[in-house]
Symmetry: C2
Subunit: 504 residues, 2 copies
Amino acid sequence: MSDLHGIDPHTGAPLPDAIPTSTDDDVDDACRAAEAASTAWAALAPVDRAAVTDRIAHALRADADELVATANRETALGVPRLTGELERTAVQWEQYGRAMLDGELWDVTIDHADLDAAPAPRPDLRKMNTPVGPIAVYAAGNFPFAFSVAGTDTASALVVGCPVVVKAHEGHPGTSARVAAILRRVLTDAGHPDVVSVVHGFAAGRRLITHPAITAAAFTGSVAGGRALAGDAARRIEPIPFYGELGSLNPAIVTPAAWAERRDEIVTGFTGSFTLGSGQFCTKPGLLVVPEGDLSALTAAVTTAPTHPLLYRRIVTGFTAATERLAETDGVTTLVEPVPGDGYATTAGLYVVDAAHLDARSATLLDECFGPVSLVVTYRDTDELRRVLDRLPGGLTGSVHIGGDEDPDAPGVLRALASRNGRVIVDQWPTGVSVTWAMHHGGPWPASTNPGHTSVGPDAARRFLRPVAYQNTPAFLLPAALRDDNLWQLSRRVNGALQTRPNG
Amino acid sequence: MSDLHGIDPHTGAPLPDAIPTSTDDDVDDACRAAEAASTAWAALAPVDRAAVTDRIAHALRADADELVATANRETALGVPRLTGELERTAVQWEQYGRAMLDGELWDVTIDHADLDAAPAPRPDLRKMNTPVGPIAVYAAGNFPFAFSVAGTDTASALVVGCPVVVKAHEGHPGTSARVAAILRRVLTDAGHPDVVSVVHGFAAGRRLITHPAITAAAFTGSVAGGRALAGDAARRIEPIPFYGELGSLNPAIVTPAAWAERRDEIVTGFTGSFTLGSGQFCTKPGLLVVPEGDLSALTAAVTTAPTHPLLYRRIVTGFTAATERLAETDGVTTLVEPVPGDGYATTAGLYVVDAAHLDARSATLLDECFGPVSLVVTYRDTDELRRVLDRLPGGLTGSVHIGGDEDPDAPGVLRALASRNGRVIVDQWPTGVSVTWAMHHGGPWPASTNPGHTSVGPDAARRFLRPVAYQNTPAFLLPAALRDDNLWQLSRRVNGALQTRPNG
């Protein structure tokens, strides 16, 4: 098999690191090893798995310099951004470990036998969540740490007791191999060497989703890629759940009152948000909806916005095609034309269309485009604004900028955004995803394949859990967490009443 | 379009009630009406929806005599069973209404802004579950009330704020139409006439899953039917989640100690469980695994077990084919041959195979078969028992009968059953599904398409909810449940700490 090489985005030239493409046997070996390792890993108490995830966080931080340098060669995202992302990745491991200690995600539920229950006497029933088994994780290209080999999908699966086989993203193979080596080293020291494996190459990814040992899959990437893998998952002899986080337009709506009050602040914030990381975030605001009028301040800000090279050739190709299509669409005016540079470099682009034109052409104009480009939509009145809102697709985020508590347009816009997005934001911008209990990163199609689940925050682990109920089961056969003595000190629901954890 | 008629299972003759097959326009009208009704229904406070679901329970009870008589004509399940099932159905509506009052299923989560949060300062974030929108429900044939038009799928969707379009089961069209009329009457009185509609006919079911207004689907039925509809759901322009509860073998394992101790009790319990409702429960024990030896008591019990006619022609055809296939399989011995009677009537069948023969033939022998038939597998030693356990498919339930706390085989059998079933049961039988918080009705394929979700109990409503996070949102724009004053008095997670409901 051929080797994979990262590409220097500054030049488009291959880097020296050679990473072997995984063979079918490599994939099968990884899946079988994960299956064999599953029982022992799942049997650990949450506090013991948390000790391992803490050591992973520590090991990632200990190798930060080399990891960041490698990732920077392969992605050109810059040392400050990559240093921050690696720290976020380490924090995620610590946070997942801690989150499993308090009981919320285990959903421990105990109903004692009740001969007087309606409509029929009931036996003793106790249920809790258990790990589903080995998980296939498809790493993202735009976060070489936080959504890659050691990212949130891997961490949230591993922490609940599921082994993981990661299909590395082809854009940063050297970073992926280095991170994989760190995870394997820590896990080997902990006595569980096979609970994480990494495979490389497109064919390996397709084989992985069909392997009988795999019980669920998590994916972050394109709509087309997600659809293809979801189809593979559904056509298996034993179909498995597929959790894809795909594309999002992330519209930002500005009410007339907000635009009148603080146009400069909005122009600065929007430009910073859609060009951040050269527009390669799934939460990039790809649409700005503002009252009609002068846009010269916005044009000036975008013209001078700093950018860095795009990540991969595929993103360059997509960016070029999408911006050319925008420029040629009837009714669309180019405000700032993106200019390509060396390697994968490009400056930012900005286009404008009035709301009346959007009506007829939303199918192409409302597609997500990775890279530093956004479309401005201008509206004449609130009727036009409402029609724009009605045409918006499902998404991860929708933002609204309002003119204070008296803004008459605020409630309607917020309701419309909440009806089709996973996160709504007031007077802020969607880039920057806090890793916390109340975060939701998901949403109606095409944002995700299942809007009931998140890929960020503790609740992401729910994708990899399934309940098991124990009926009439004597204490000596019950899992520790289901016994009356509450050995793990978890919050639980007992006979219908929620009980917080004893030492919580 | 042609009309649908129920069939009298006692005779195989059509009943007089004529129910019109739904046209494409009927389906489209129902879906559009559901979409239009969605916002107002979703906006109700849980306590106000609970008042409506209580009225539904009341209305079902008020018409019990006529509903039971109609269902008995179409299903021949008998007045006592149908009366009990209708009461269970009414209780489910009351229970779902109450379950939404305490906050668990809303997952209200509040993280206040924190400038010192690691790895980065965080904004104020608040999230809660919200209804996903109109749901397609595919009713089951074997529970004309509890898993049909007014069954657990409809109730669990409606109670969280999702309108429902039910595709009625073709086996009991008259019952479905009568229940639909009751639901529509109560909902019209409540000012929400269009939040439940019912459509009839196979073509209507296929059209329903593809309608753009539908946001998720719940199905109870065959593996083949579930696969087909799941494929339709995945191939939509905007794919939607599909929650199917399909097939389950429900193995019952008897350890040597248990078999030695109380063979007679086990024989009686098993025979009662697998012939209950003529074996047409998704939890019917289709496999009994016992130590080798004399089976004459079992044979005698099955020979005299009471049965009633099967529900539908399709079940008769499947039952006949499966029992003929069993009888002809190498190594399988017929213990009791089923004898067909008038209409859809049949007596029970029982077959036996030794564990060594099962090894090579598990693919066909371990398929679910609806109707009063079960396969006995005999094992010589615990090695053989372990190999049988290794071959078992995913399922809803697995039962084990043990010889007390000293039984050396109990822990291993229970672990094996828990690894691939949604509910494990000790010293009891799987038929009879308690409707309570700790129940889980689901499991790995082919039991369900997503083992993380249940179709019975309050948690069934989670299938129809999606989180929405509100970032930096002033109180006047927040949903009531997310404001600091906790207007709905829900349990919530605030800054990572679980808080039980104020008056809970």
